[in-house]
């Protein structure tokens, strides 16, 4: 099979972040500030990405506003011809800095939402005053006129706020909301007992989204990531491994997905050592799960094998212990029943505390209780 150029690149500019969300998608081993790529290297990566065929650049983190050179990096991305999206909690953005980002040509902002009120949002984000600040930033974003997507991350503790989150998106003038049920990778794996939604919550969210899509057609676009463990078929992870997108870590490692480092046998190339195009087309980690040749049964003979590509490799690794296995979310996986039992057990666990993400260079907390 011929490999096509990627469409999207996620640039994790930094792992530093003022928030410490317990479902952070960053790896447990966080990059320190002195390990981060410098401004010039990021600029070169953006130019290489555009030449490779990337159209959409997502500047993420950690909190990308923690990078002092953010405006310069946005300017460089636009100069390279990339559609530039900032994925942010809003913390670290002042009115003046937003004005500079506007002048630099930033195309779009995706603002995360940890809860629809200060009590919930500040508890989940682990940052007092964060919600109030975020609302201020949302008002500035609206005044400048940036296209806005609200990214509501939902789990057992805040799924009841989904209707308010949708209302908030409309009130803020967002054109789009991502209703993202927490996916269990990275830090979220430490918090399944507190964050796993119940099956009833998952089905209720399905219904709320279905209704809101009809009601708000032409006003608000709703992209929905359902509760994975309570689904019958797995997600088409990354649109297919090594087909659509790539991810560059703060230190410059190039990954096929943000969680790929949890697959222990994969080796990742670095933009400091190799051209981005060479890594995309020839890198061993990208080749590992491209196409369908790597599949086992029941994937190999499955009619859905090019629909979802066997689901998430990192989830197969984390739960089945074999990255080549069928994602256990799949109803055809021999481990599907066990996964459902696991989901049930996590969803009914009581009395556990949230384990917050730590800061780069700080010890990784153990799961308690």
């Amino acid at each position: 099979m011929t490999t096509r150029p990627p469409i999207a690149m996620l640039a994790e500019l930094t792992h530093r972040c003022p928030l410490s969300c317990p479902y952070c998608s960053n790896p447990l081993e966080l990059a320190r500030v002195d390990q981060e790529l410098d401004t010039g290297t990021w600029k070169s990566v953006f130019r290489q990405a555009a030449e490779l065929g990337v159209l959409q650049l997502h500047l993420s983190g950690g909190e990308p506003a923690s990078r002092r050179d953010l405006v310069e990096l946005v300017q460089a991305a636009r100069d390279a011809g990339l559609y530039t999206n900032l994925i942010t909690s809003g913390i670290g953005l002042s009115e003046r800095r937003l004005g500079e980002l506007d002048a630099a040509g930033l195309d779009h902002i995706q603002l995360s939402l940890q809860g629809t009120d200060a009590a919930m949002a500040d508890q989940i984000g682990g940052y007092s005053g964060g919600f109030k600040r975020k609302m201020q930033v949302a008002a500035w974003i609206g005044a400048i006129g940036f296209p806005l997507t609200l990214n509501a991350v939902l789990h057992r503790r805040n799924l009841h706020q989904l209707p308010q989150a949708i209302d908030m998106a409309v009130e803020m003038g967002a054109r789009r909301i991502e209703v993202a049920t927490v996916q269990f990778h990275g830090w979220a794996l430490k918090n399944r007992d507190t964050l796993m939604p119940t099956r009833e919550q998952a089905r209720e969210a399905d219904a709320i989204v279905r209704d809101a899509r009809l009601r708000l057609k032409g006003t608000l676009v709703i992209d929905y990531v359902p509760a994975d463990y309570h689904s019958d078929y797995p997600k088409r992870c990354m649109g297919g491994w090594g087909t659509t997108g790539l991810n560059v870590t703060p230190e410059g490692k190039v990954l096929p997905c943000h969680a790929a480092e949890t697959i222990p046998h994969l080796v990742f190339e670095n933009v400091k050592d190799q051209p981005l195009a060479e890594i995309w087309y020839e890198g061993a980690a990208f080749q590992a799960y491209r196409g369908t040749d790597w599949m086992q049964e029941p994937c190999r003979s499955c009619e859905r094998k090019t629909v979802d590509f066997g689901g998430c490799r990192c989830q197969a690794m984390a739960i089945v212990g074999d990255a080549n296995a069928t994602d256990p979310v799949c109803i055809k996986s021999p481990r599907h029943g066990a996964l459902q039992a696991l989901a049930e057990a996590h969803a009914s666990a009581e009395g556990k505390e949230l384990v917050y993400r730590s800061a780069p260079g700080k010890p990784i907390p153990e799961t308690v209780g």
Binding site: L55, Q56, Y83, N85, P147, R175, R176, G218, T219, V221
Partner: protein, 92 residues
């Protein structure tokens, strides 16, 4: 449904881009890149935020020597789909 009097425009954050790697025109929007065929590209490049949908379809019909009803029907379907995704707006 878009009417003859509506004045369509591409809102901020939605733009036409020449993809030199794939040798194609694409419409870039939040989290989306839509490949434009020749017809879609022709329609979108007529949209300037000043002329009405009726004027645009008349211009396209004249340029391509095609019945204006056919052009209007195809264009309305395409622009309606973009509008549903908030990739196209009409002047208030």
């Amino acid at each position: 449904m878009i009417t003859e009097q509506d004045v369509p425009y591409l809102p901020r954050g939605v733009r036409i881009h020449r993809d030199t790697v794939r040798d194609a025109w694409v419409l870039l929007a939040p989290e989306r890149a839509i490949t434009l065929d020749a017809i879609a590209h022709a329609i979108l490049t007529e949209i300037d935020g000043a002329r009405s949908f009726g004027e645009i379809t008349a211009a396209l019909a004249a340029r391509y020597n095609a019945p204006v009803e056919d052009i209007a029907k195809d264009s309305a379907g395409f622009l309606g789909a973009l509008r549903d995704r908030r990739f196209l707006e009409v002047q208030p």
